[in-house]
Symmetry: C2
Subunit: 221 residues, 2 copies
Amino acid sequence: MKKNKLSVQPIMAPRPTIRRLPSYVNVIRKMKERGEKYVSCTDIGEELSLTAIQVRKDIEFTGIRGKPKVGYSIDSLIRTIENFLGWNRMDEAILVGSGNLGTALLGYDGFSAYGLKIVKAFDSDPLRIGNQYFEKEVLDVATIKEYIKENQIKICIITVPASVAQKIVDEVVKAGIRGIWNFAPTHLVVPDGIILQNENLAASLSVLTSQLELYHDSCQL
Amino acid sequence: MKKNKLSVQPIMAPRPTIRRLPSYVNVIRKMKERGEKYVSCTDIGEELSLTAIQVRKDIEFTGIRGKPKVGYSIDSLIRTIENFLGWNRMDEAILVGSGNLGTALLGYDGFSAYGLKIVKAFDSDPLRIGNQYFEKEVLDVATIKEYIKENQIKICIITVPASVAQKIVDEVVKAGIRGIWNFAPTHLVVPDGIILQNENLAASLSVLTSQLELYHDSCQL
DNA sequence: TAGATTGTTAATCGATTAACAATC
DNA sequence: TAGATTGTTAATCGATTAACAATC
């Protein structure tokens, strides 16, 4: 009766909740390695400097039910969160721009734990095309649309210079890409329904430097 | 009379505001290159898919005054935001962990525009110590405390594996580091007053995959 | 002048935190 | 049983959005 709107649509967790859930999995996995079977929100919160209340609220969104006094079954909590975040279904992704950052991401083997497998890289530089970085071949970016269509790729990682990022995005979206993970330091425009996730180093750095500045200033008072 | 609490302490802008300000500078710099002298919140908002209201609120925090109907002077707006974010004062930073990601960051020349200059890298791997990446020397991590103290370094970038990150952080904090930019996929604990900024790739990726999952699910209904 | 834009105060929205009953 | 922990509803807090007067 109540909440029938929510029961029709898939439940939408707040963005901050979704961002915290991965670290819960990290912590619980470590506990599992230590042989533990159950975990409480208090335990997770202590490990991550969060309140038990916040952890509980976050976990509630995944739909799992715990046992009062006992906590949550570690195995089923891991499975539930992974499922909730879409990590169980492995996504194949491509990366465009095999510069320093792009190559670093090709070499990062942690993504597979998060359901992401980078299968190919693309570049426009003839010196890079044909190379292999961490067993991933660099193809000519001219062939990217074709590759996306033929292999039904849904996720594209953008590590090209800011000046060409929008052009690449327009192309890959036209070819059927549904999610874009953008590392280029520029604002991108995508059509409705395409998911865009920006990795904004300047934004993070600004939080750091402005807080330092703040501290610096207040010391001089 | 009113707001006297705020006039004593430095004005604290909301975190989301601080994260958006760098992109305003980007946009305004481009306009300056096109020879324009004044910019309105509407202009900035259009360029970044934000509302003029939000842009105005953000800019208000920097303390600048604009002219109704005209907008803000581009030159003074750039200066004001840069000053507000602490970009005018160049900070020297060190980086620990010269793996793929660390090296990529050493090679990124965009940080200098944000007031950050990475001066040295540190590593524990004898094969890397002594190398130079992008004109930045890799020193033995055993000497890191000494280096921080002698050169009064205030910012440390962490690109080591998760398993050793906390140990490094404890050391550099003891040596006098005031701000930490953490790229290791783990939760770090720092003392009060030390600024910690986490770059959490798993969190961002989760937002992307879970939204794709959501879309995927709702299509099947 | 008229109208666009700023500056400022108020309303809304969403996330976090608190409170408390239910339960193993 | 007693007490810790979950589940759920309510209160608070902070950020965004809206409204509107001031002004070039």
